[in-house]
């Protein structure tokens, strides 16, 4: 909207301030285009009562969605349009849209929780918004102000607040996605895009209690490589993992342990769609929690970062971010019985204990809890899970928990 002609025609200023050109919309200073602006949010409600949740124990991850969604369009001439919250519905996309052809798509995943007072809390939403921004930039999708996105997500959670479950272990999974929508087949930077957010009420990843997983450390399939997009949450990283995962499942393994070859050895990078943590007694005899450092091979997980920061406050363990090699480090530790716990870390499961790793045709049992053979989760993983849950559900005040 441009300024009224009246403004320029007025001959003199009144004693009070005259109407003047106030910057209504956030403008990206570099380009003069509209920025993503939560103050322009338009809310179109479904009407009628909110859809009641199905019985909580029947919730399957990602199958049920809330009543509304957030939808924001961008184009290269105008910048970001006004965000809209509207009833959940299918998208209409031109068949030539490059998100459908060249994987011009990125996404993120985070959760919101309802605390004992019924207030909704997001867990570190600034980290996810920042990550979506970095993923977007990697694909030539448009940038945006991260806190404006967080504000829009707050509004969406507020509209569907009654559908956020209020029970320990249950939460609202938040899926922001950014896709290219311009109707041309050329391979190039997108001129039209859409950012949308959908919400899905979810239950505990392990509804009947922790069941450790078995990993296949396959030496053929590689998830990420230097110079690639392994450190960004783009759809292109995930699709190709389905086949190896299915082949592994046929052999009795629940997840892939992704390896990266170096020389004649392999770095242990991630497990399934999670980051990997190893708790062991290292060769100096120290109790050490170790994970691959950030870089092209590793997705910067928010759970990963949270675990590192919580573990750093624990006095009895050393926390290291350094590569762990399969033959010279890991299998040696297995043989010398120095492995204490191995677990994956991610938004969906938070922590996922491992009790077996198959490599090169050999299965290596991994202790879950050395003091309790029938435990489904080890002591450190359990402690970290409790600390995280306490923060997420608002039982312990923490700057990581943002009220809606």
């Amino acid at each position: 909207m441009r300024r009224a002609a009246i403004c320029r025609r007025r001959p003199r200023c009144s004693p009070f301030l005259p109407s003047c050109v106030l910057p209504h919309r956030q403008f990206s200073s570099a380009s003069g285009l509209h920025g993503l602006d939560a103050s322009q949010l338009k809310i179109i409600r479904k009407g009628g009562e909110p859809t009641p949740l199905p019985p909580l124990d029947t919730l399957v991850f990602g199958r049920t969605f809330s009543d509304h969604m957030l939808d924001v369009d961008w184009d290269v001439n105008e910048g970001w349009r006004a965000p809209v919250i509207r009833p959940f519905q299918n998208l209409s996309i031109h068949p030539a849209a490059s998100s459908l052809h060249y994987a011009l798509q990125c996404f993120d995943g985070m959760k919101a929780y309802k605390d004992d007072s019924g207030r909704i809390r997001m867990f570190r939403p600034d980290m996810n918004a920042r990550r979506l921004l970095l993923s977007s930039q990697r694909l030539g999708l448009p940038s945006f102000d991260e806190l404006q996105l967080v504000e829009c997500i707050k509004a969406l959670l507020s509209v569907d607040s009654s559908q956020v479950p209020q029970k320990d272990g249950y939460s609202m999974y938040i899926r922001p996605t950014s896709i290219a929508t311009q109707p041309t087949l050329g391979v190039g930077p997108p001129s039209q895009t859409k950012l949308f957010v959908i919400l899905s009420p979810v239950g505990p990843y392990y509804p009947t209690g922790f069941k450790p997983v078995q990993l296949l450390a396959d030496t053929h399939y590689i998830r990420a490589w230097p110079g690639g997009t392994g450190d960004r949450k783009v759809g292109a990283n995930y699709g190709p993992t389905i086949l190896p995962q299915t082949l592994g499942a046929k052999k009795g393994y629940s997840q892939m342990l992704w390896l990266f070859p170096e020389g004649d050895d392999y770095r242990l990078t991630e497990v399934g769609t999670m980051n990997l943590f190893i708790l062991w007694k290292n060769e100096q005899g120290e109790k050490e929690l170790v994970t691959e450092p950030l870089g092209d091979l590793i997705l910067p997980g928010v759970t990963r970062d949270s675990i590192i920061k919580l573990a750093q406050k624990m006095h009895d363990i050393k926390v290291s971010e350094r590569p762990v090699y399969m033959k010279k480090d890991f299998l040696k530790a297995v043989a010398e019985k120095r492995i204490l716990e191995v677990f994956g870390a991610g938004t969906a499961a938070v922590v996922s204990p491992v009790d077996r790793i198959g490599f090169d045709g050999v299965d290596y049992p991994i202790p879950v809890d050395p003091d309790n053979p029938s435990a489904g989760i080890g002591p450190l993983a359990k402690k970290l899970l409790k600390e995280l849950n306490d923060i997420q559900y608002g039982r312990v005040p923490h700057e990581w928990s943002w009220l809606v």
Binding site: M1, A4, I6, R9, R10, S14, F16, L17, P18, S19, C20, L22, H24, R25, A38, S39, Q40, L41, K42, I43, A82, D116, S117, G118, R119, D126, D145, L147, V150, E151, K154, A155, L157, S158, V159, S161, S162, E399, W402, L403, V404
Partner: protein
């Protein structure tokens, strides 16, 4: 009903009655001449919803005192534009909540160093002097502070304001609520508001801060618990009740009153993002000014020479007036004298008439080419 929070640590004299208070927490009408409620949650929305529940549903027949406080919150007036007034991103980063009142006026900052009080009396029995005396005597007797009432709404000590209040006669119930600055972060308001240039022209936020004070600076014993204790005792004495006989009702998220439809309706309304934040209009015309009685930003969408949409932001204390004015301007010909007439149309009291004359003259002048 299991109470999750412990009772106020009151003076030794009343400690023995704590267990009796727990049992009485679920009672909805106290036996005795007064009611006392203590808000235990730290959410401004929760307490405002409790207040509305007391006013609309419970409508106590005895004089009632409700004491509460909340975590870092900016509370804005009914008709303020959050996006212009507040640095929303800084609030997000610092974990400061946003709450929007139903009443008019401007923004205030509240944190755990700010104690809120609500006096409810049966309709027609409101006595401002008596309520103020309860507060001032409680502070004097217990902490030795010499405060006095000043102007219509304020309580001051040594000329510095430590309390502001608002009053409303609501039929079956009269409401008198306000704040007490005990140990509030006085820089909070300035930190989270944007430097709105019209405000800077007038008093400005910085100079307001110079004229307020925290009571704890006068006596280090002052905190939420000791002040509540003193207020409850003085409140009881004022109505001839024995302070030790007071059974304060603790209000938490598991209290029976939270099951009330009135409570739940108000809580979800006050928590709703659209109510609190809402959107900032993108209309064709925007006019801004400041009168002594309020700053104004008038957004008009003019189509075919007629005001097709009107949205007014203001910190004027008369919130219903803003609603009436908005409706009155909608559909009016975009013409100086028509707009003036539309403004005068809503003036149904002397005060409103003088205000609308000022407003109407201003808008007439703005629009005249």
């Amino acid at each position: 009903m299991i109470l999750r929070r412990t009772a106020t640590r009151l003076s030794a004299r009343s400690a023995a009655l704590r267990s009796a208070r727990r049992c009485a927490a679920s009672s909805t009408s106290a036996v005795g001449p007064v009611n006392v409620l203590l808000g235990r949650e730290l959410s401004n929305h929760f307490h405002l919803a409790t207040e509305l529940f007391l006013i609309e549903e419970r409508q106590p027949r005895q004089p009632t005192l409700f004491l509460w406080r909340n975590d870092k919150t900016i509370v804005i007036g009914r008709h303020q534009n959050v996006w212009r007034e507040c640095d929303v991103q800084k609030m997000d980063r610092d974990g400061v909540q946003l709450s929007r009142r139903d009443s008019g006026g401007g923004a205030v900052y509240q944190d755990l160093g700010n104690t809120c009080f609500t006096f409810l009396s049966p309709g027609g029995t409101f006595d401002k002097a008596r309520n103020n005396a309860i507060i001032l005597n409680a502070l004097k007797n217990r902490f030795g502070t010499q405060g006095e009432a000043s102007g219509r709404n304020d309580l001051v000590v040594d000329g510095k304001k430590f309390s502001g209040a608002a009053f409303k006669q609501l039929g079956p119930v009269d409401l008198h609520h306000g704040t007490l600055l005990l140990h509030v972060d006085l820089d909070g308001l300035g930190r989270y508001l944007t430097p709105h240039k019209l405000k800077l022209q007038s008093k400005g936020v910085a100079s307001v801060a110079a004229r307020v004070c925290n009571l704890r600076d006068l006596n280090p014993e002052i905190n939420h618990q000791t002040v509540c204790d003193a207020l409850i005792a003085e409140f009881a004495r004022s109505y001839g009740a024995d302070p030790d006989s007071i059974q304060a009702e603790e209000v938490t998220s598991t209290s029976p009153l939270t099951q009330s439809q009135v409570f739940q309706k108000h809580l979800s309304r006050l928590q709703d993002w659209e109510w609190r934040f809402g959107s900032s209009p993108q209309f064709s015309h925007e006019l801004e000014t400041r009168f002594d009685w309020g700053t104004f930003t008038v957004h008009l969408d003019v189509k075919g020479g007629v005001v097709s949409q009107c949205r007014i932001f203001s910190d004027c204390l008369d919130a219903p007036l803003i609603d009436l004015l908005t409706t009155s301007l909608q559909g009016v010909k975009y013409d100086p004298s028509e707009l003036y007439k539309a403004a005068l149309k809503v003036a149904d009291t002397d005060v409103r008439e003088s205000w609308m004359k000022e407003f109407g003259s201003w808008i007439r002048e703005q629009v005249a080419t």
